[in-house]
Amino acid sequence: MLSTIKSVYLNGLDGYTVQVEVDVSAGIPEFDIVGLPDESIKESKERVSIAIKNSGYEFESRKIVVNLAPASIRKGGASIDLPIAIGILISTNQLKNKRDLSKIAFVGELSLDGSINSVNGILPICIEAKKIGFDEIIIPKANEKEASIVKGIKAKGVKNLNEVISYLRGETNIDSYKTDWENIAYENQKYSIDFSDVKGQENAKRALEIAAAGGHNCLLIGSPGTGKTMLAERLITILPDLSYNESLEVMKIYSVAGLLNDKEPIIIQRPFRSPHHSISPTALIGGGRIPKPRGD
């Protein structure tokens, strides 16, 4: 039997729908994934089959083919584990689905015991899922705070495969986590440094004030020990507050890079990066061999 489960996959910061088509038929037992998967997706065969077994279901030895459409785009990472597992359970008639699968996206990495591990880039995935038109997205529990920042889509955090199964059977409901964006206090920003630490230098301070207000580039020239570094480091204490839209843009990048804190995923401070001068061009502008988001 054929089943189709939807997922959202990121290419850079742009997301697109991946249709996970699973077909289980009689024939020589095999398990194959097609649709330009890379090595990390090929490994998901082992994770999926063992996770299904350890969740109390049978992984039947029949001919199983999984197709990831669109088949022309290369995909990597483990976030497609969950939709593959759900597809196999539906195709083998072990899961009678009662929900509208065309409106739900599934994202998550499986562990061998059937629990669902967090993935990077949940924030942009949810933003893109909302843009594509999904009503709901099933995500790892550990990512739910981060996902709740996005307005207009129900992000449901799940701990393990069994929770997803009983939800799809209509036996349980999953509440989505809520973040009250308006109540996140900007006043919480406390610094141990202050512009009043630097005596004199009114000209440079004025220049930095203008730069901060308009976002202009700035160059400080001076003899050693005059306070150039001190001044620049204190710039963060006078930068304007991040707006919601700007904050979302900042968090998208940090989410894909896997740099968001699971407990406190919201960034309300403007980033301040000061790389050492031994940095390479690649580390400065980005890109490795394949410029894809980390671990996704």
């Binding site: 707006s243 990066r273 000061s274």
Partner: protein
Amino acid sequence: MEEGGYQNHGEISLANYGVLFLDEFTEFDKNVIEVLRAPIEDGKITISRVNSSITYPSKFMLVAAMNPCPCGYYGSEVRECKCTDTLIKKYLSKVSGPLLDRIDIQVEVPQIKYEKINDNKVETSAQIKKRVNRARKIQIERYKQDNIYNNDSLTPKLMKKYCKLDYDTGKLLEKAFNNLKLSMRAYGRIIKVARTIADLEESKDIQKKHIAEAIGYRVLDKNYF
């Protein structure tokens, strides 16, 4: 993860909507700082490899700090500089003209006088931030239809709309343009800085003094470079 590429986000993307601070600017490899040229101008970076190309935003504010010469005391009033002319030229040439042209505000940080050390009438960050926030709010309000958040992101078309100069102010800028041999880009950037100075004063129009101050932040590259 893909082979060989675990660092995929550059510092410039992580500094999006924030600050990229490059201390000891001249110590960076020349090819490292020159790659900044395009992202500074475009606000985004496109990385192309054999099988894919990806664009990340990079709307950062570059802040660089450097010494004026290898010994550090060229132009200083307190200590004598021991560098030869050629040495200084070589040192400063690490910052190229095209890059310098993209830096709107260039300012000297001199040695301070002893009397200043015990000066307690210094503004705190909170006081400055208040003014900065107010100026930024004015910008966000003004550009809410235009999908930009600050003066630095103004396009030439938007500048025509929001940065009108009166006759006198235009004349002043013309004089500076000719005398300082400014580039067309520097011209635009001076107006953007003047717009910010006017916003800090909550002035609706860009006045002569705003342009004059903005030009003042441009002359450094003629003194040193």
